[in-house]
């Protein structure tokens, strides 16, 4: 704990700084490898599509006591009524058998239920039947895609308005796409079943991934605004400082968000078996982890790369280099202590006003901008009007 707080302090002051933005090539490579793996999983192995998307019948027999060769027994029970070619039997939790079959008609369903009840020696009300048409899953997916498109459009607009630059929207969306592809790739590679609940989970990841990115970006906005004002840090350095300063928050938040999800995941896989709860929590667990990663390692470097190309940012970089050289410090380290004292929200605008004026007009030999008052000579004292005029 002690060390974690110190870690946070060091990150904040810049004593310790992890170069998230500068080493973007490393993170991009890591992500590229992950994306390629995801693509291989997606196109090579393919997704394990759930019953809801294929169409079919599902039976769950609960309170089963005798699990000896339950697969063969359930296949035999179902086989009396169908070809039995694609019957999938799984054991769920401690006492439940799930049998997935082709789609049965209503009357057949009841016969299958009766047969299963006989086979496993349970009463028929311990068996639940679930018949799904193939179009149901398709309609869910179609709606999910519509929702996705709407969401992306709306969110880009909101973010572009809030941050006053479309580049933040774009970087956030790149991170989002990255998260989504990797999550789905993990599903394909691990062979997790994709159900409508997983689709809900994927959609939630969108929200969470953006949420996390927005929190980091808000700090980036704050720091870069100060940097643009005092010209002591380049955009990338300011952004990197922001990521470092929010790192403790990111870690804490992810842990807090993951703890309940993980507890559902454990309870779900241990006691409940496949179902809405497990599918959702699995998607969320993977998604939140990837989302935290991307908001730190992908979103901010991408944003910095996008912004650094702007002429104004190039100018800022030059100013920062001059300043840092003048300070006699290495350019690579973030100047500590002295800069962060001024960066509170209330002063930002003042700094921006006062510091921008001299950037072209007056500067010392070292290239340090001069305070406006220095240029205009001694400060004028307020004059009192003569007594007669008061």
């Amino acid at each position: 704990m002690r060390s974690f707080a110190d870690f946070g302090n060091d990150l904040y002051t810049g004593k310790r700084s992890i170069d998230f933005v500068g080493r973007q090539k490393t993170w991009y490579t890591v992500s590229l490898i992950l994306l390629v793996l995801a693509a291989i999983g997606l196109f090579g192995r393919g997704l394990n599509i759930g019953l809801e998307f294929r169409g079919g019948s599902e039976f769950r027999v609960s309170s089963v006591t005798n699990f000896n060769s339950f697969e063969a027994r359930s296949k035999a029970a179902v086989g009396t009524l169908s070809t039995g070619s694609d019957v999938v039997v799984t054991k769920i939790g401690t006492d439940t058998v799930r049998v997935q079959t082709e789609k049965f008609q209503n009357s057949q369903t009841e016969k299958v239920m009766a047969a299963l009840a006989r086979e496993f020696n349970v009463s028929e009300n311990k068996i639940t039947a679930n018949t799904v048409g193939a179009s149901w899953g398709a309609s869910v997916t179609q709606k999910a895609i519509t929702a996705l498109i709407w969401f992306l459009v709306l969110v880009s607009l909101v973010l572009a308005t809030y941050f006053r630059t479309w580049k933040m929207s774009m970087a956030a969306l790149i991170a989002l796409a990255h998260d989504l592809v990797i999550t789905i790739g993990i599903y394909a590679l691990a062979g997790f079943e994709v159900t409508p609940a997983s689709v809900i989970g994927f959609l939630t990841i969108l929200g969470y991934s953006l949420y996390d990115t927005v929190v980091v970006f808000d700090k980036v906005r704050e720091n870069t605004m100060a940097a643009e004002g005092n010209g002591r840090l380049s955009y990338s350095q300011a952004a990197n400082q922001a990521v470092n300063q929010t790192l403790v928050r990111s870690i804490n938040t992810s842990v807090v968000a993951l703890l309940p999800v993980a507890s559902i995941l454990v309870i779900g896989s241990w006691l409940l078996g496949p179902g809405t709860l497990l599918d959702l929590s699995l998607a969320l667990f993977v998604g939140i982890s990837v989302g935290t990663y991307s908001s730190i390692f992908i979103a901010t470097p991408v944003l910095a790369d996008l912004r650094e190309r702007e002429p104004a940012m190039q100018e800022l970089k030059k100013r920062a280099t001059r300043y840092q050289a003048a300070q006699g410090r290495k350019t690579s380290t973030v100047p500590s202590d002295s800069d962060s004292a001024d960066t509170n929200g209330t002063n930002d605008s003042d700094l921006l006003e006062t510091a921008r004026v001299p950037s072209g007009a007056g500067s010392t030999a070292a290239g340090r901008p001069v305070h406006p008052y220095v240029q205009t000579g001694p400060r004028n004292q307020p004059k009192r009007p003569p007594k007669s005029k008061r």
Partner: protein
């Protein structure tokens, strides 16, 4: 005890929250004590057990179904579900599909009756009878109100609707109207047995659809025993187009024996409602206009020509939808022009309802079963209890982690989470009562997931405050500046989250909706709690000695947070944080 002036603002904010919670609890208590609400959230099917059926309405002839027809289909299904006598059933749409949620497991017959195709038909009325219960003989002698009231009731009730035929003068060229009569049975005799006076011999073969020879003793018996007050018995009626049927009027206390089907719903090409046009413009009376297609014109012409001269009630024909007579107008002429209008004591709304029923009922709709999902109550209960267990464990872990990370500040997180939980419980229960919101497994998952997002607001806030303390601010100032900075971030990130949930809610299927709804709800609650509870609480705590001086266990210890040793404190003074902290420590030991 005097209130610290610094605490006045925060205390006022806190009292707003207290008011809010007390109000919510009070309202909940009131509606559950005197109203229909329950004290716990309503549970969805997957938690309390039951069956969900998804039906896809199909119009015969592969025409794509439009939203108006879907709505009509929902009305039909709703009427059927109500008729099947299942309580607590819910019917909703999901795109073009209809979702029926039933508690328990319905038998095959119920499902089949829900699925059967809907068809509108017109049949000639053979016998009409009052549904008023046969008066008990002893009561007839007494001139008291209840005794006399009963036999007269059927006579007075329908007369509200029947109009003088003379006033329904239609526009020239428009065929003379039918009155939406459903006029009282010819003789409002209190005993139903008296009505079918002409008891035909069963052997006689009916010559036309209006021939009383259709009325067999069995039908009479069925008519006498038919109880129109019981939707279940209406549901059981058989609508066979080639045979006469016994049925009830859905509005008036009248029951009928109807002849075989003569005009099919599919033979009505259009139905509209509007005001009757007199010589001087609209007369203020409403009518329903009908257009028939080719075969419809002919059969309708045949029916009206035949029954127009018959005595009442046989000059009426019943329009039957889903086993019930929705209107039984009297034919006033033989109508062979392919159009007709039904007049009567309609309001604009009731005329429109009838026109819609005729128009959409004209489309024979069938319902294909898409999915049937049954969950046994024990399984649902297991899911709920284990889901709650998972949530409790998750919450406990979050509490442990935040205490570990933030020491005493962690307690602020915990109490904020408790307040958030209280509000969520109250609101979910309220929505269950007012909007019929049901908590499903997906909803519970949404709630558990939201623990992380709600807790994040606190973490964000605390981290900002810590940042300010690191900059050397005194705690009270750090709380205020940290708050102004954290507030922006909390608002924008919650806005994004809310947007995600809103889009999900607006566009997604029904079981996704529960999830999206809880996410939306908790996002709003998050903002409410942070603004009305966490921030004022922290402001008050900042004025206490324990937090304000940065006790070792407060989580805001300047020394531990590495606050810079000297800070400019304004007016030429300098604060030395480490010294101050050391002094505080020295004082305590």
């Amino acid at each position: 005890m005097a209130i610290n002036p610094h605490n006045r603002g925060p205390l006022r904010t806190l009292s707003v929250l207290v008011l809010l919670i007390v109000g919510l609890c009070g309202l909940l208590g009131a509606v559950s004590t005197w109203g229909t609400a329950q004290k716990t959230p309503k549970l969805g099917l997957d938690l309390q057990g039951g069956t969900q059926l998804i039906l896809e309405p199909k119009v015969v002839g592969n025409t794509p179904i439009n939203p108006g027809q879907v709505q009509k289909a929902v009305d039909i299904i709703r009427a059927r579900v109500d008729g099947s006598g299942v309580s607590e059933a819910e019917v909703s749409t999901q795109g073009n599909n209809i979702v029926i949620s039933l508690p328990g497991t319905p038998d095959k017959a119920t499902i089949a009756s829900l699925q059967k195709p809907s068809q509108l038909s017109m049949r000639a009325v053979l016998v009409a009878a009052s549904t008023a219960p046969t008066p008990v003989p002893t009561s007839t002698g007494k001139p008291t109100a209840p005794a006399t009231g009963k036999p007269t009731a059927p006579a007075t009730a329908p007369s509200v609707k029947s109009t003088g035929t003379a006033t329904t003068a239609p526009k020239s060229g428009f065929p003379p109207a039918l009155t939406a009569a459903t006029t009282p049975p010819p003789t409002p005799t209190p005993t139903t047995a008296a009505t079918p006076t002409a008891t035909p011999t069963t052997a006689a073969k009916p010559k036309s659809a209006s021939d009383l020879a259709w009325v067999t003793p069995e039908l009479e018996k069925a008519l006498a025993t038919l109880n129109c007050a019981d939707p279940k018995s209406i549901e059981k009626l058989v609508d066979d187009p080639t045979k006469p049927m016994v049925t009830c009027d859905n509005e008036f206390p009248v029951k009928y024996i109807l002849g075989p089907t003569e005009v099919l719903g599919s033979e009505i090409s259009n139905a509209t409602s509007g005001q009757v046009q007199g010589q001087n413009g609209p007369t203020g009376k409403n009518e329903v206009r009908l257009d028939f297609n080719g075969p419809g014109t002919k059969s309708f012409c045949d029916v009206t020509s035949r029954i127009v001269s018959l005595p009442r009630p046989r000059n009426q024909f019943g329009i039957v939808l889903d086993n019930q007579v929705i209107s039984a107008p009297v034919a006033q002429a033989s109508l062979c022009a392919g159009t007709a209008s039904i007049t009567g004591n309609f309001t604009p709304a009731s005329a429109k309802i009838l026109a819609d029923q005729l128009k959409f009922g004209a489309l024979p709709m069938s319902f294909a079963l898409q999915t049937q999902d049954s969950i046994s109550p024990t399984l649902g209960g297991d899911q709920l209890s284990r889901g709650l267990l998972a949530g409790a464990i998750g919450l406990l872990l979050v509490v442990a982690y935040s205490l570990f990370q933030y020491r005493a500040l962690g307690l602020v997180t915990v109490s904020s989470l408790i307040i958030a939980g209280l509000l969520t419980y109250g609101l979910v229960t309220m929505f269950g009562w007012s909007q019929g919101f049901r908590l499903t497994m997906a909803g519970v998952t949404g709630l558990i997931v939201s623990i992380g997002i709600v807790a994040d607001s606190f973490i964000l806030y605390f981290e900002r405050v810590r940042d300010e303390v690191r900059d050397g601010r005194a705690l009270r100032a750090a709380v205020e500046t940290g708050w102004t900075r954290a507030r922006r971030t909390i608002l924008i990130s919650d806005a994004v989250n809310f947007l995600a949930a809103l889009v999900l809610y607006a566009l997604a299927a029904s079981n996704v909706r529960g999830f999206a709804f809880t996410l939306m709800l908790t996002t709003i609650i998050d903002i409410v709690v942070v603004f009305l509870f966490t921030h004022p609480l922290l402001s008050i705590l900042a004025n206490t000695k324990f937090f304000g001086e940065g006790h070792k266990w407060s989580g805001l210890d300047p020394k531990r947070l590495g606050a810079r040793t000297t800070t400019y404190a304004g007016r030429g003074r300098v604060t030395i944080a480490a010294q101050r902290a050391a002094a505080a420590e020295g004082n305590q030991s």
